[in-house]
């Protein structure tokens, strides 16, 4: 009896071993299905709804299956019309939108003005718990459907009116000249009736109007997207489809790429940066993305908000050797920051190289002098708070502290203060419980200088966690938003940015690059300003 069991076990093991060798070795997994490419992915954190997706992974999919009124050019970041035939205004506050004819959702339903208005009203409505609801905050009547406190007082926003099958009007609660340029963001895409009629079914298999359709979606493991042959847009997919595979670790994805089981990795792990050139040669891309990392300060804390403390902040900024850190720790996948926006905006779009000036140049002697003049470090020591769970923040925080300690010739001038989880870090920073500088990162929602400045530095703005407040800055931002001339608006934003600089409201550290590596089967791989691959342009074979 016992012997028999042993034999059976052994037989099982043998069979299993044989099966293993049979399925290994080929490395043909990626090649299956013609010109379909496989790409690494991480499970979206939130349910996949346009106005509820606030991270890159979900945004990726929305970008593939949806097209909105505008789209950001992958190279220049400029907002270009897609479904918008025209967006007209005379006063920067009342807009008339005309939707192009001939667009349908992949289920055959026509895309009309109502598809937009319904989607926007859904996104703004408090009862739908959409995390990106604030995108609709400029539209008149938002405070009725999404009050800061209490129950929702209206079902729809009064600022939105359907005036024809293909036209609708938008009334904003204040002047906002860049409003049309924000419409390329995923939250503003149209939604088909199916979304409202059978919400659960839609979530299980989203239906959109983009170059791809969702073929199957297994939560937590993979999503298969196929090219939509009837796609009416100009940017139809040049491949047959994309299989997004969920990876537990981007190192494993990279290994799979090396072994030929995966075609595209859009986040080369930090540990592999040393080898990536040797491994992939020119099948590796490393370009700036609309992401900037800064050190923010707790202005609600008196120690950091007293006369002269701007000198301390400037001194700290000058004590950080950005060049060296980006080179040794990030292998040049980050670029030292010299302003508070991002190079992806371009010079015309509001990026001003060197706006920070001397305050971002490494100079230990000047740093020591500035900090001394500013009354010294509050409490004799700065603690840089960061979350230790993701993003390898420990590495650079330690490096920044080292740099500061060396510059100030004081081993205890700066220490890192890790917090276990991102959620805990966020809850501490958003409830003003931090007592020293803390890591802040900003990934742009749309390529506009407004997006890099207003949410972060405007009084009581949504991401102004340090509670910095400056009347002049607020006034300039308001003025820039009301400006109808784009060039003038950009100039005014830069004036506002100079106020941020003069008070050193946050220390700019570096711009983050997006990276991608791909297999020999692929060509024409590019990253858009959001560091997401432009999937529809990738050629296979």
């Amino acid at each position: 009896m016992r012997g028999a069991t042993h034999v059976r076990w052994a037989a099982c093991a043998m069979a299993v071993a044989l099966a293993a060798t049979a399925c290994g070795g080929g490395g043909d997994g990626a090649g299956a299905g013609g010109a379909v490419l496989s790409a690494s992915w991480t499970d979206p954190q939130n349910p996949l709804e346009p106005a509820n997706t606030n991270e890159v992974q979900g945004g990726k999919v929305l970008n593939m299956i949806f097209r909105g009124l505008k789209q950001y050019d992958p190279k220049t970041g400029e907002a270009e019309d897609v479904l918008a035939e025209k967006i007209e205004t005379t006063d920067s506050q009342n807009y008339t939108v005309t939707v192009k004819d001939g667009w349908t959702f992949s289920n055959g339903e026509k895309v009309t003005a109502k598809s937009f208005v319904d989607a926007w009203n859904y996104g703004a409505s408090l009862k739908n718990n959409q995390k990106n609801a604030y995108f609709f905050g400029y539209i008149d009547g938002y405070d009725q459907v999404h009050p800061a406190k209490g129950e929702q007082r209206a079902e729809t926003m009064s600022g939105l009116k359907v005036t024809g099958e293909r036209t609708f009007t938008v009334r904003l609660s204040q002047k906002f000249s860049s409003f049309p340029d924000t419409l390329g963001y995923n939250a503003f895409v149209p939604l088909p009736r199916a979304f409202f009629d059978d919400h659960a079914a839609w979530l299980a298999k989203p239906v959109g109007n983009g170059p791809y359709t969702v073929q199957s979606y297994t939560k937590g493991s993979e999503m298969r997207l196929a090219r939509w042959d009837a796609y009416p847009g100009e940017d139809a997919a040049r491949n047959d489809g994309v299989t997004l595979k969920v990876y537990t670790d981007n190192n494993t994805a990279y290994t799979d790429l090396m072994a030929g089981n995966l075609d595209l990795v859009d986040d080369v792990p930090a540990q592999q940066l040393k080898n990536v050139r040797a491994d992939l040669g020119d099948r590796y891309l490393n370009t700036p993305a609309g992401i900037i990392q800064t050190l923010a300060f707790p202005f609600y804390d008196k120690k950091w908000n007293r006369p002269g403390s701007d000198k301390v902040r400037k001194g700290l900024s000058r004590a950080i050797d950005r060049e060296q850190i980006t080179e040794t720790i990030f292998q040049k996948t980050r670029t030292p920051a010299t302003d508070w926006t991002s190079p992806v905006l371009g010079a015309e779009g509001g990026y001003r190289e060197g706006l920070c000036g001397q305050w971002c140049d490494y100079d230990p002697a000047a740093a020591r002098k500035l900090i001394e003049e500013g009354g010294g470090l509050p409490g004799g020591q700065v603690k840089i708070t960061y979350n230790a769970d993701t993003g390898s923040h420990k590495l650079w925080v330690d490096a920044v502290c080292n740099s500061i300690n060396n510059a100030l010739d004081n081993d205890r001038a700066c220490v890192g203060n890790p917090i276990g989880t991102f959620a805990d870090f966020r809850s501490k920073s958003t409830t003003q419980k931090l007592s020293g500088p803390f890591r802040a990162g900003w990934q742009m929602d749309y390529p506009l200088p407004q997006n890099f400045l207003q949410p972060l530095y405007y009084t009581n703005a949504s991401s102004n966690d340090g509670k910095w407040s400056n009347e002049e800055f607020d006034r300039l931002v308001d003025q820039a938003n009301a400006e109808t001339d784009v060039a003038k608006a950009v100039e005014t934003f830069q004036e506002a940015e100079k106020v941020v600089r003069d008070h050193m409201a946050a220390i700019p550290l570096w711009y983050q690059n997006g990276s991608a590596g791909w297999s020999e089967r692929l060509s024409n791989v590019a990253l858009n300003p959001f560091s997401v691959p432009v999937y529809e342009q990738i050629k296979v074979g």
Partner: protein
């Protein structure tokens, strides 16, 4: 025996409640999960408040716990933040991890016990020394090193296996990850069996069996091994629980979407429902494994009787 089983099952109730309560408190101490849901931007207060209400986070912890336990008994483990039912997550994660655990346990039993018997019978010979050294190396090298090394060699350099496991995770693809997961335990099983065998070899009943003229094979399997297996069975039984919950390193390396990975994600995203749900099930697994181990004692050694 029946009475014993019932008593053991009853004992599980306070352990179960205590363990889940502890986990519940620990996850709650970590802070407000809604703060991390909106990324680097603060959730607007109205939405945050609604989300908190939806997940029941606005109630005191003891009330959350009571509601949670009430739901668990009706099979409702709540909803993860991405809108998926936790039971749905479990139904995809547990089969994968169970398969991985089976592979690991099979390796432990097959290789571990075989090596243990071999070395136990040949103490001091080159085989024994060799195996002892090898197990020492296996124990001292961290799992992630073994895992990454095997993945690189077998998967990338030689192309024998796929470096990552597909979502379906069939047994075939789990061989190498299973071996990696089993490696450390396997070494312990080997050493445990070796010592046990070596000790019992000199015992009276073995001498008697040999004196009776029983064939060597029968002496070893029936008399020596059977009695030597008691500590090994205890170890393997407890190991089942550890392997299921502690497979996190192996699961990350080989892209296995199992229990360890879900737990890790749950903790990272501070998803109370996922973490508590999975831990609840793992606690049950531990308790059941222990029960089975205790019952197996009686099978292996009839002298062990329970009132």
């Amino acid at each position: 025996m029946g009475q014993y089983v019932v008593r053991r099952l009853l004992q599980m109730v306070p352990v179960f409640i205590g363990a889940t309560l502890l986990i519940f408190l620990m996850v709650n101490v970590m802070g407000d999960p809604v703060a991390g849901l909106c990324g680097d931007r603060q959730c607007d207060p109205a939405t945050a408040a609604r989300l908190r209400k939806e997940f029941g986070l606005d109630q005191p912890v003891w009330q959350q716990y009571l509601t949670y336990m009430g739901n668990v008994f009706t099979g409702d483990f709540g909803t993860a933040f991405n809108g998926q039912e936790v039971t749905e997550l479990m139904s995809t994660a547990f089969p994968v991890t169970i398969r991985l655990t089976i592979v690991a346990i099979v390796f432990e039993i097959l290789i571990g016990i075989t090596l243990g018997v071999l070395t136990g019978l040949r103490r001091g010979r080159p085989v024994d020394t060799g195996v002892l050294l090898t197990t020492l190396v296996v124990i001292s090298v961290p799992t992630f090193v073994t895992g990454l090394l095997l993945q690189l060699l077998l998967g990338v350099e030689w192309g024998w296996i796929r470096p990552s496991v597909s979502p379906a995770a069939p047994f075939g693809e789990l061989i190498v990850p299973g071996l990696v997961l089993a490696s450390v335990s396997l070494a312990y099983v080997t050493r445990l069996t070796r010592t046990s065998i070596a000790e019992n070899r000199r015992s009276d009943y073995v001498r008697t069996a040999i004196a009776k003229g029983l064939p060597r094979r029968r002496v070893i399997t029936r008399h020596l091994l059977r009695n030597s297996l008691i500590p090994v069975v205890t170890f393997i039984g407890a190991d089942i629980g550890f392997l299921m919950g502690g497979a996190i390193v192996t699961e990350r390396i080989f892209n296995i979407h199992g229990v360890g990975f879900q737990l890790y994600q749950g903790i990272l995203r501070q998803n109370t429902q996922t973490v508590v749900g999975f831990v609840t099930v793992l606690v049950l697994v531990f308790l059941l494994c222990n029960l089975v181990v205790d019952l197996l004692y009686a099978v292996l050694d009839p002298r062990i009787r329970y009132a």
